[in-house]
Point group: C2
Chain length 330, copies 2
């Protein structure tokens, strides 16, 4: 049984109000009394019950970050930055891992939204805001990141997936490639759709067919994709993928089958954070500003919390295409 404020008060021979004020520095207490209270706290090993305090004050200094995949360096990089930004203002970060499961996300939102956290940063597994709307109390500050949702009235920070990949595909085409394969995953997330559109639009604008060049892999970072075998087809001379996890898998797959990426076959990979990432073959990369996105999201949330009447913002950060010839500049 942990000691309560009452016991400290009794031990120090003062009222609980005085103890509370000593702890919170919230009104003047005579030096002598303060000393007595502090001694009692020390002796009894008292530590204020944070839940009771939150309950009473309605403030929690807690932000929740909802991530679809904590094992994905893109999100862990974001998390690090969000944490840095908000902890400077005295907030702590609660991280929820939904594993791309909308049900898990809904569950987390329901539990946390009512009185547990002061705000959310969400990389959502939902495709639309509609089912989320009911779970969030009005005025609870929420920032959506990375993924665009239908009908979403909240602040949203995205990465421009389209143009970086467009540049990448253009680059390959200008190098003379006509059979550029594209790996994608089966879900309908905005990021997945946009990147695929970038690939298909760009190919189409150069009158290159893509019918038998698109392959579906498995969406979660920790699952190896199956069915990459067609990538070994003779006619395919270059490959693009929609994220870093697939980069890794595809590159590994190719090497295992004796085709050296960057040499026997061209490729565009993803670099989703500043984390050291060992990509040996000299291939082109799309670099996503995970850290900048995290920082921006943290700041925007603080902004929104201190000023709820701000107009909704929708920010798009650009990603960078780095041709293999420029890799030394990273």
């Amino acid at each position: 049984m942990p000691t309560s404020i009452r016991e400290v008060a009794r031990h120090a021979g003062v009222s609980i109000a005085t103890v509370s004020h000593v702890i919170n520095n919230t009104r003047y207490v005579k030096e002598e009394t303060r000393k007595k209270v502090q001694d009692s706290i020390e002796q009894l090993g008292y530590c204020p019950n944070a839940i009771a305090r939150s309950f009473k004050t309605g403030r929690h200094n807690l932000i929740a970050f909802i991530t679809p995949d904590i094992a994905n360096p893109f999100y862990s990089a974001m998390i690090e930055e969000v944490e840095a930004v908000i902890s400077a203002k005295g907030y702590r970060l609660l991280i929820c891992n939904t594993k791309e499961d909308a049900v898990k996300e809904a569950d987390a939102l329901r539990v946390l939204a009512n009185g547990v956290v002061d705000g959310f940063i969400i990389a959502s597994a939902f495709l639309s805001y509609d089912p989320i709307a009911k779970m969030l109390p009005a005025n609870l500050p929420v920032i959506f990141v990375d993924r665009s949702l239908e009908n979403n009235p909240c602040d949203t920070l995205l990465i421009d997936n389209y143009h970086a990949l467009q540049k990448g595909i253009e680059y390959l085409i200008h190098q003379g490639h006509t059979h550029i394969a594209y790996i994608t995953v089966k879900n309908q997330l905005s990021t997945v759709i946009e990147r695929r559109a970038a690939y298909e639009d760009t190919m189409a604008s150069h009158h290159l067919p893509t019918d038998d060049l698109v392959f579906i892999a498995n969406p979660l970072s920790s699952l190896f994709s199956d069915n990459l075998a067609p990538l070994l087809r003779e006619d395919i001379t270059a490959i693009a993928v929609p994220n870093a996890c697939l980069s890794t898998e595809v590159l590994t797959f190719l090497e295992e089958h004796g085709r050296i990426p960057g040499k026997d076959i061209e490729a565009i990979g993803y670099k989703e954070s500043n984390q050291p990432q060992y990509i040996n073959p000299s291939i082109s990369l799309i670099s996503q500003p995970a850290e900048a996105l995290g920082r921006a999201a943290g700041h925007q949330l603080l902004e929104r919390m201190s000023n709820p009447d701000l107009p909704t913002c929708r920010t798009i950060l650009s990603a960078t295409f780095i041709p293999k010839t420029d890799r030394h500049k990273i």
Copy 2:
């Protein structure tokens, strides 16, 4: 202002007790009454205040995982598994990132220990349990993972760092290498000390000097190490490192300077999770059971929570040395 249980009660024309019992299924309520209450809940969009409930019941269904580096796949892999284990029992996971800062860790423990979480899993930045002892209420279930602390009376789950690396160094020596460099970091964590000891002991047992073969790099995953230049020395024919981040950095460094690992120079890298990790050069690896450690920690915590009188456990999971010739077996 979110709706409270009182408003639901009034709206439904029943007492708050009945509403509470409907919500928690905690005593019989006439079907008709139950219906009324559920309708009111629906109409008012009521959601119970989790903080108030925690406050009242003293239970929170929250576990905190204290990690020194969330961007390190070793920890994010553990986190995934812990989360899977405890969420099956209805617990949620709060993740705190200390960035190897003992002050941050102490702060998190203090805040969370009193009434916020039901238990801790800690990969500590502290070297000794002594400073931690004061912050943790007696009987609060705590599991330490990955790192061994002095005077630690709590359940501890570790990985056998020593023997896997010993095997690795032996392997290199048997291949004829005599000048095997070792990269390490400057902190005094048990893992760092053990691995370095494995290196030095093994070298010594083969009468190989190590005086000018040990190099110090930077400990956090997201920081590139400086001063790796001496690794290019002619006499050094093999290199070992103490973790996956340094593997990546060292390998990248070597390639950038024209020395192909596994060909021009031998190396032992680390594989710290089941995540796809693209290590192209054919080098030997030490594989750490991050996932198994996470699962074991989750189970041990649940065990400890349901039975506080269990004798303290100290479990050591073994790591595996995978010679480069066996890489296909991964």
